[in-house]
Subunit: 160 residues, 2 copies
């Protein structure tokens, strides 16, 4: 199944967290699973906090990009439109909240599951859980805000 | 002036955001400026969100590590102890909240300023502002929690 991020227009596909055109970045991929969205990501050994555990900034980053992707996918679904139809929906982060419930082990894949719990005009609220080895180690809430359709159309500095 | 992170014990100096022993990481450095703490960090061109602007996950990461460092420094100061005295104070993140006020330009240094606004037992609340070119683009609140003194003393996997 194509991931949401595979359909981002090129001008907005450079994000370090989720852009398929950012060779240095995480390039996360998010898909639907029923009414939930799912991202799996395997941290590198150097993404460490205390040795053996994942750095909290990575947890925040994964929740952030997973959530803006979920917001866009939820808007397409609400409109009954495919992910590759125009005009594109693309979201930025208005606010990010993460509760770190316990240390996240660094060995093995992480799974982030989320839901768009509220769609109100140009804002979508996304709630997420991050699991390591099936155990929830962090919870996130993101308020994602829809970008104007022409934002990013003329990139000032196309870093690749 | 030595940075707070220069005094972290080796066992807890591997964090991707702030560990001086993580060759792949950001290695941020935080110092006192009166009652405020200050971190300056220059993003790489690939730390992009929309081209030309900083990826929100980096903003969250910088605020996170700046805040745990500030929490430790505030505890040393409250106790009238130097940063290199034992036992060490070291904090992990209980919760992280970031409000993204406007896009953060990627060209040039970012400055994060913070204060420990509350110290209550093992918890320290740190409030921060992130500026680019003198303009505040994000605000953060971190609840930092003091680690047990022996946490990280026997690292399970010393990733460097």
């Amino acid at each position: 199944m194509d991931a949401f991020q595979d359909h981002y227009p090129d001008a907005v596909a450079h994000c370090f967290g989720c852009g398929r055109l950012n060779a240095h970045g995480h390039q996360i991929k998010t898909v639907w699973n029923g009414d939930e969205t799912v991202t799996r990501f395997t941290p590198e050994p150097y993404h460490t906090a205390i040795p053996g555990f994942v750095y909290g900034g990575l947890v925040a980053s994964l929740i952030d990009c997973h959530s803006t992707a979920t917001a866009a996918a939820a808007m397409y679904r609400q409109d009954g439109r495919g992910l590759d139809t125009l005009p594109p929906f693309r979201f930025v982060t208005g606010s990010l909240h993460v509760d770190y419930l316990k240390p996240t082990p660094i060995d093995g894949a992480l799974e982030i599951r989320g839901r768009a719990v509220e769609i109100k005009g140009r804002k979508v609220v996304v709630e997420t859980e991050l699991r390591a080895g099936g155990v929830v180690t962090a919870r996130g809430t993101v308020v994602a805000v829809q970008m104007p359709a022409d934002f990013g159309a003329a990139p000032p500095a196309p870093h690749r």
